[in-house]
């Protein structure tokens, strides 16, 4: 009998109870709760009335208010805005990682005068608050005729994300063995071939990480989406969420419903690419 129990424990990975084990599980449960509780609270709150929300923020709703979700779609035209957000965020992310990986390739694999200075210059871009650049970006986008176009937002998001993406991708590209590239060179592979066939595929984890950051940034961006657009058919989902606030009051519950709707694509994207994202995060792409 003892043998069967031991065999079962071994087969199922069960370990003997120890204080360290208990501490580990306490930590896991604590962080799971810490991470998931706000999300669960948001979802539950999105089914309440505003009075219930302020009266007892942590209680379950008396009657589940699905009407908040109807409001979210009805008032702000969420579907069209979500479509715009998906198109703009995906396009900007694609453009951004292509450009940033090309830049990162040059900075990480070649030694030339000014390499360090260029990298420092791009890295410094991360530290500049984008809101401080509203005026120059507005002038640039309006003067090239891209005001109130999706292309204007795509170009802006792709460009402003280059510093962060370059830092992430460069970190990973530096870790790729030079011998592989040299072997390809000996086999007659040129500059573009080595980038597209060797370095780019081997950097996919870092690129996925950069793409994830970039997508989330584009998805959540509000200030420039508002500044650089004027018509409803161009606008993104973050503007839709703001439909429930006004100067002196906010319909919080409908806004929460809109937020829940808006985070679904991000969660889906994470679920699809979670292996690459986790590998990218843990394999050095965002390590110091």
């Amino acid at each position: 009998m003892t043998t069967i129990k031991q065999t079962f424990r071994q087969a199922s990975g069960h370990k003997r109870f120890t204080p360290a084990n208990l501490f580990k599980w306490l930590l896991i449960v604590f962080f799971a709760f810490y991470t998931l509780f706000p999300l669960l609270w948001l979802i539950v709150s999105s089914f309440k009335t505003n009075t219930e929300l302020f009266g007892n923020p942590f209680a379950l709703p008396e009657v589940w208010q699905f009407v908040n979700y109807q409001n979210a779609f009805r008032v702000s035209g969420m579907l069209m805005m979500m479509g715009n957000s998906i198109f703009i965020a995906l396009s900007a992310t694609l453009l951004n990682v292509v450009l940033a990986s090309m830049l990162a390739y040059c900075l990480s694999r070649f030694t030339f005068k000014g390499n360090g200075a260029i990298f420092t210059m791009f890295s410094a871009g991360i530290l500049v608050p984008l809101n401080a650049l509203m005026v120059p970006y507005f002038i640039t986008i309006t003067s090239i005729g891209l005001y109130n176009t999706r292309a204007g937002l795509i170009l802006l998001y792709a460009a402003t994300g280059i510093p962060m993406s370059t830092v992430i991708i460069r970190g990973l590209m530096e870790g790729i063995s030079r011998e592989i590239e040299e072997a390809a060179y000996i086999d007659g592979c040129g500059f573009y071939g080595r980038f597209t066939r060797i370095v780019f595929p081997l950097s996919r984890n870092g690129i996925m990480t950069a793409a994830t950051f970039q997508f989330i940034t584009c998805w959540n961006e509000f200030v420039f989406a508002n500044l650089l657009t004027s018509s409803q058919n161009i606008r993104t989902i973050q503007l839709g969420i703001r439909y429930f606030t006004n100067q002196f009051s906010t319909d919080f519950v409908s806004m929460y419903a809109a937020i829940v709707i808006s985070i679904v694509p991000s969660i889906l994207l994470y679920m699809i690419f979670q292996n690459q994202i986790i590998t990218g995060l843990s394999s050095g792409a965002v390590k110091g």
């Binding site: 009266g55 702000s76 509203m134 005026v135 507005f138 508002n226 002196f248 009051s249």
Partner: protein, 423 residues
């Protein structure tokens, strides 16, 4: 019945007169081609003015079909709207029409890009429809750079049921008496004043404005921040934080509103736009348990009982135009939306008050009627602190208040922090 009938007849008469006036005005205005005016507007979405405002614009576009077309650009976030207008002014890309609230008109005039309405209003019938002094307030450097639209008075509102628990049936007349009441409310575990230091510290700023007027009188702002009234008023405001909620430091408007609407706090201040929410969102039949009160008097102060803070809450502005027909189209639109029948509708749905003279509306909720009467009888209505001070000082108010409440500075230090923003 007779009263009701006469009111209906008066309304019909008013509507038909102004409708015919519009028909006449619309017929007289014949531009060479249709003029399109872009109007980035915050009165959209769930804003309380949104439904009537949309109706107004649709009615104008119908009345001026083929002549003028107003295109609304929906702006859903007030701060983002201000940022956008500021950026557009800076870059010389002003929209045809826009509204402003917290902007200083002087700052806008400095851009040199605002339309001057003086030629259309001086000695005109339209000018006579505005309340006394409101057009002068919008005149900078001899230019009438904005049309005063929404106005506000900032009285007090108290929960009669909570005050009764402390033994009060009427609101105290002096600040000393008010603090005695606050102490009694505290003994009953009731928050006397919901206050905030977060965001723009809006309701705390309104309290400070009324205290300042009570201490220093209506001329207090003319004497500047060196006047001792600013320090005394800060001392009174700080004392109020002894009777506020535990989450007041860092709290935003939603927290303050939530406390009052949920029967957790006794005395509240805000503009008239908030009044319909007592009934709509308050618990325990709050709408029927709120009463209006005048801001108290400060014993030994220079203020007069009945005086209060008031302001033009929203101005209508337009970009300077090269085309006189476009300029005329702007005037036609602003004339249209400042007509009494539209403003009555806006007042009914959004609780707004206006810089245009309107007859008292017996259908308004009681607290709003009381506020309107108090404003009409007030010995003075003086713009609130944020309107009076340079932008930097107004922006510095929440941070200075934080330090005052946390005890990092005293009242003198609080005023010094405000002054430091002038440098």
């Amino acid at each position: 019945m007779k009263k009701l009938l006469s009111l209906i007849l008066a309304a019909i008469l008013l509507f038909s007169l102004s409708a015919s006036a519009f028909a006449q005005s619309s017929a007289e205005f014949n531009p060479k081609e249709e003029i399109t005016l872009n109007f980035p507007s915050i009165w959209v979405g769930t804003d309380s003015k949104a439904p009537v405002f949309a109706e107004m614009v649709a009615a104008f576009n119908e009345a001026y079909k083929g002549k003028v077309n107003i295109v609304i650009e929906e702006q859903t976030d007030y701060q983002a709207y201000r940022d956008k207008i500021r950026t557009m002014i800076t870059t010389g890309n002003l929209p045809d029409l826009f509204s402003v609230d917290v902007f200083k008109l002087n700052d806008l005039v400095a851009s040199g890009k605002l339309m001057d309405f003086a030629p259309y209003l001086t000695d005109s019938e339209w000018a006579k429809t505005f309340s006394d002094g409101s057009l002068q307030e919008a005149t900078v450097e001899n230019q009438l750079v904005a049309i005063p639209f929404e106005s506000a008075g900032f009285g007090l509102y108290y929960n009669t049921e909570l005050l009764e628990k402390a033994g009060y049936t009427e609101f105290p007349k002096t600040y000393d008496e008010m603090f005695v009441m606050a102490e009694k409310l505290k003994e009953q575990d009731i928050v006397a004043f919901p206050l905030m230091t977060g965001e723009n510290a809006w309701t705390s700023m309104l309290w400070y404005s009324n205290i300042l007027l009570a201490v220093g009188g209506p001329e207090v702002y003319n004497r500047g921040l060196d006047d001792p009234a600013f320090v005394t008023a800060a001392e009174v405001l700080k004392k109020m934080f002894d009777y506020t909620s535990s989450d007041a430091v860092g709290a935003g408007a939603a927290v303050v509103n939530g406390h009052f609407l949920n029967f957790e706090a006794a005395v509240y201040t805000n503009g008239p736009w908030f009044l319909p929410r007592f009934a709509k969102e308050g618990v325990n039949d709050l709408g029927n348990k709120v009463k209006f009160a005048l801001p108290p008097e400060y014993t030994g102060g220079m203020g007069t009982f009945g005086g209060m803070a008031g302001t033009v809450q929203a101005y209508l502005c337009a970009a300077k135009q090269d085309n006189p027909e476009k300029e005329q189209a702007i005037v036609e639109f602003f004339k249209f939306i400042t007509q009494p029948e539209w403003l009555y509708k806006l007042a009914a749905t959004a609780g707004s008050m206006f810089s245009i003279k309107l007859e008292a509306n017996p259908d308004d909720i009681q607290v709003k009627q009381d506020l309107a009467s108090a404003m009409a009888a007030a010995p003075y209505l003086v713009k609130h602190f944020n309107d009076q001070m340079p932008t930097a000082v107004a922006n510095g108010f929440p941070a200075a208040l934080d330090e005052l409440v946390l005890g990092e500075v005293d009242a003198q230090g609080f005023v010094q922090l405000l002054k430091d923003n002038l440098d």
